[in-house]
């Protein structure tokens, strides 16, 4: 029993999960039962994948010990690249692949420069935040291009499921979250990511190709952000060059709320997903509770700090439980 308690207290996503449960109950009461209604859930689940997919990539990268501030810009660049190609008459799937390739290239550049020149990824990706945003506006020519009418929305944005509860994007999100979670917990690559972020000298001494592992994580992070951006654009029907602004910090907040450590090595994809859900729940719940929507950022900020403090406290409590290991 004690042992179980210790194990659970040490789970970094525990604080976020308890918060989520508490907030759902609070919002359900405050909104007079509207919060968990099918219509409202449809609203939350419909846009959750957009931040959620970004958070998955950011979480994996943070576990690897690096950081990506450019995801918000890549979120806009991927669909813009695709839209420009579509307008030029390129069919959807080649344009889609070209967009993802652009993201992969950005992720590679982020990783390569960070490692090759030994500079903090904070700096590299801060630069890339501006570069990618600028490129998005430049290739759009200042006006968002008109998307062709024939797009495979059935694959990404149509409502499906029991009572049309969620969009196709939600299925993508669930599948990718499960795959990313398995990647981190069950594969040797996941083991290398944890080792690289947890203690770089040890990973190197054990012969892990740490540079390649990090670059792969940067690329995964950028591609997921770009994919998320494309889903939003297909949902909105127009590739606005300004989408995703500020999301990079929300994504980091979600990962941190979910128990991912900024220092690397600690965190889970599930935690990041919980963090992303929390952000969407707060956004929605505040409005339903008729709280001034401007409190949204306050809540995110407060939660970020609170979750980290709570995790540290829980960790300490867990250490204090005297069970032999």
């Amino acid at each position: 029993m004690k042992r179980m308690l210790k194990i659970y207290l040490e789970k970094p996503e525990l604080a976020a999960l308890s918060l989520l449960a508490a907030l759902v109950i609070l919002f359900q009461i405050r909104s007079g039962g509207v919060f968990l209604s099918a219509d409202n859930l449809r609203g939350i689940l419909g846009i959750l994948p957009e931040i959620g997919l970004m958070v998955i990539g950011v979480t994996v990268l943070m576990i690897c010990g690096e950081f990506d501030l450019s995801v918000g810009s890549v979120f806009a660049l991927m669909p813009m690249t695709m839209a420009v190609l579509l307008v030029d008459g390129t069919p959807f799937f080649p344009a889609f692949l070209a967009g993802l390739a652009a993201c992969a290239a950005i992720g590679f550049i982020n990783g390569y420069i960070t490692i090759k020149y030994g500079i903090p990824s904070f700096i590299t990706t801060l630069g890339m935040l501006f570069i990618a945003r600028s490129l998005t506006i430049v290739i759009s020519g200042g006006f968002p291009p008109l998307l062709p009418a024939e797009l495979p929305n059935w694959l990404f944005t149509v409502f499906v499921g029991p009572g049309n509860l969620f969009r196709m994007s939600f299925l993508w999100f669930v599948v990718i979250a499960v795959l990313a979670s398995l990647l981190m917990s069950r594969t040797n690559f996941g083991n290398w990511v944890h080792a690289t972020g947890g203690f770089l000298p040890a990973a190197k001494a054990m012969g892990i190709p740490t540079a390649r592992v990090k670059i792969a994580c940067f690329m995964l992070c950028s591609m997921l952000a770009g994919f998320a951006g494309m889903i939003q654009v297909l949902r909105l029907g127009s590739p606005l060059p300004s989408i995703g602004e500020g999301w990079e910090l929300q994504a980091v907040a979600a990962a941190v709320i979910g128990g991912t450590a900024l220092s690397g090595g600690i965190g889970t994809v599930a935690g990041g997903v919980i963090g992303a859900i929390l952000i969407r729940v707060i956004d929605n719940g505040l409005i339903l509770s008729q709280v001034d929507a401007n409190w949204f950022k306050f809540a995110i900020g407060f939660l970020t700090i609170f979750a980290v403090v709570a995790n540290a406290w829980l960790g300490k409590r867990a250490k204090a439980i005297k069970v032999e290991t």
Partner: protein, 243 residues
């Protein structure tokens, strides 16, 4: 002497402007426990880093069991049967014992191009066995390495090296930061390598420790070997003299 397990010929290493190794030539016999001593900057760490693949030599040859080899990275060294246990040990504190034991050499259920799904049951079972084999008593292979004491961590590192059937085990200052009792355990372990038919290279600047467990002592100073004698044929005074 039988064919040396590792043979180093005329090894040089320059760091920008520093000639850290000045033509080191040295043989390690199979089954021998060699103590490598020297002051800071004497070149012993550089020599060890080259043998373990953490650095590459600027010049010189290395042979393992008579075959010339090229050790370009830690993986090459491990594949040759050279395992290294480092001072700031080679464990990731945020990972479990089982995962640490197999970093980079995970047993796989299936894999493609070197990536795939780990056999976690095998990892758990084998790590329990590996830890028991070095006389370390830990209840769970899922405990985080960060929760272990320094001595236990060195124990896990040693268990890892043993598990992968190394021929040569390099212990780089393994007794630093250890409690007295745990230090004794590590020294006992170096002594026991002989029975296991493993060559031990024990680096320390504590000469007492080296005398306690090594057959032969090699002293380095200013990038060169200044003394190389059987432990029985030398004394602590002589070694302190040459350093």
């Amino acid at each position: 002497m039988a064919q040396p397990i590792i043979s180093v010929r005329n090894l040089h290493k320059w760091y920008s402007g520093v000639h850290a190794l000045r033509g080191v030539t040295l043989d390690f016999a199979p089954n021998e426990a060699v103590g490598l001593v020297g002051d800071n900057g004497a070149g012993k760490s550089t020599l060890i880093n080259i043998l373990s693949g953490a650095q590459t030599a600027s010049e010189g040859e290395i042979s393992v069991e008579g075959q010339p080899v090229n050790i370009a990275n830690p993986r090459d060294a491990m594949d040759l049967g050279i395992e290294t246990i480092y001072q700031y040990n080679s464990m990731v504190p945020t990972m479990s014992i089982a995962r640490n034991l197999f970093i980079g050499r995970e047993p796989m259920k299936f894999s493609l191009l070197g990536l795939g799904v780990m056999d976690r049951k095998k990892m758990a079972d084998e790590s329990v066995k590996a830890i028991a084999d070095v006389d370390l008593h830990l209840r769970s292979p899922d405990a985080l390495v960060g929760e272990l004491s320094g001595g236990q961590r060195q124990g896990v590192a040693i268990a890892r090296a043993m598990h992968f059937k190394s021929k040569v085990m390099i212990l780089d200052e393994p007794t630093n930061h250890l409690a007295v009792k745990e230090t004794g355990k590590v020294i006992g372990f170096v002594r026991s390598l002989k029975e296991l038919n493993i060559t031990g290279i024990f680096i320390s600047h504590n000469i007492h420790h080296v005398f306690d467990c090594c057959d032969r002592i090699v002293a380095m100073a200013r990038g060169e070997i200044v003394l190389d004698k059987r432990t029985d044929d030398t004394s602590m005074d002589e070694i302190l003299d040459v350093l």
